[in-house]
Subunit: 227 residues, 2 copies
DNA sequence: ACAAAAGTGTTTCGGCTACACCCATGC
DNA sequence: GCATGGGTGTAGCCGAAACACTTTTGT
């Protein structure tokens, strides 16, 4: 054993995940009904305990794969929530992470088993404890990120149109974005690759599909949307 | 007792503080020699345990006031460091905070007692464990913050000249900044108040002192330095 | 006289904004 | 032919950057 040096009180440490998805033009968030006391049955973020031999990020990945069946999910640490009274069930220090998921890739059965449901972000219910604040912080972070680098790789299908990408941005920022300017800005980053195929579902004329190109040199951080 | 609900392994949780100061045109950082094993005598960040009934921020504030004698210090959470092997003395989850301090306001005796020393940021020694990475993250955060809102209120004396403020920015970004443009940009934010008094130490002509005005409406977030 | 910072002014340049405008096509 | 999105072009505006220039005063 290594635990020979430090003598001090210990804490329960948890992770809570704000899971963003995108479907039918809407930003969504995956929530579940709590399966134990306190606040059993209430809507909450997906969470889990941090184990003895894992990082907090690994714990969050474990929670996400337990619920969605997915590995290699985009995850970013938001912040620690540590008010001693934040959880009426006991003193729990929680690290919030946000994730981005392409909804159609999830394991629908698993999600159902966990009594989880995708909510449109603007219509999400009240959450337990400080989870509302966590969601707020995560959304802020998502906006900052989306404002400075192109998001969508983890939220959209492999191939998508510029319209779909713009609708995603409009959903994230909850404001309309000029179509022409958005197109020019996004394409100027040179991280999207035009495909031969066209999408004719959303328009008469048909729009070319694009995909993220995976050349690592192209991870450019430049302002996309001003906040 | 409230600890009746959850059964799960617990963790030691610590805070580590990256304490920035500014003195004689240099960005500085407060480090201390470790007073216990492992890595006793090596340079490290100031840290402490998170108690049973305090938030991580309160723990960081406690650590800071123990060492500098100061209350009400500017503190911002950086990130959680939780590699199970990050501390050879045991499994410790650590939350990193950065702080900004006006060095002359500290309790010099207390600092000495803690075997702590202000190091010029660019000449700091190797630190224990993952503390180097913590400092790096904190510095990144500081630059982002300074790039979007005017810092200095916590690092500079009550009254200061535009030159002193610019020197601070140059120290934070470690790059020269155009004097004329910086002056115009900073004053355009309208959060500095010109005083009647002049400083004649740094120039022949003498420069007016300024101070932060404390009207809460003036907390403007606008880009000051492009990163 | 000179140096060094204070303080102001000016020119240029690039990017963002707000549009206008043509294209393609299913109804 | 009309509505809808696709896609391109452009004039105007604004702020950043670069830098010239004048002021002040101790040495």
């Amino acid at each position: 054993m290594r635990e020979f040096v430090y003598k001090h009180s210990k804490h329960l440490v948890a992770v809570d995940c704000i899971i963003f998805g995108y479907e039918k033009g809407q930003l969504k968030i995956l929530l579940s009904r709590r399966r134990f006391q306190p606040a059993k049955g209430k809507w909450s973020l997906m969470g889990g305990w941090v184990g003895e031999n894992e990082t907090v990020k690994k714990a969050a990945e474990r929670v996400l794969s337990e619920i969605t069946g997915l590995k290699e999910i985009y995850l970013e640490q938001v912040s620690v929530f540590s008010d001693p009274a934040r959880d009426p069930g006991g003193r729990v220090i929680s690290v919030a992470f946000y994730a981005m998921i392409y909804i159609n890739r999830q394991d629908t059965e698993l999600v159902k088993q966990h009594r989880a449901k995708w909510w449109p972000f603007e219509k999400k219910p009240e959450l337990i404890f400080d989870h509302n604040r966590m969601v707020e912080s995560a959304h802020e972070r998502l906006k900052v990120k989306a404002g400075y680098e192109l998001i969508g790789e983890d939220l959209l299908p492999e191939k998508f149109t510029i319209l779909q990408l713009r609708r995603l941005y409009e959903a994230v920022f909850q404001q309309p974005i000029d179509p022409g300017n958005f197109r020019k800005k996004v394409l100027s980053l040179k991280i999207l690759e035009k495909l031969a195929e066209k999408n004719t579902d959303d328009s008469r004329k048909g729009a070319y599909y694009y995909q993220f190109n995976h050349h690592p040199e192209s991870i450019i951080k430049e302002r996309i949307v001003k906040i």
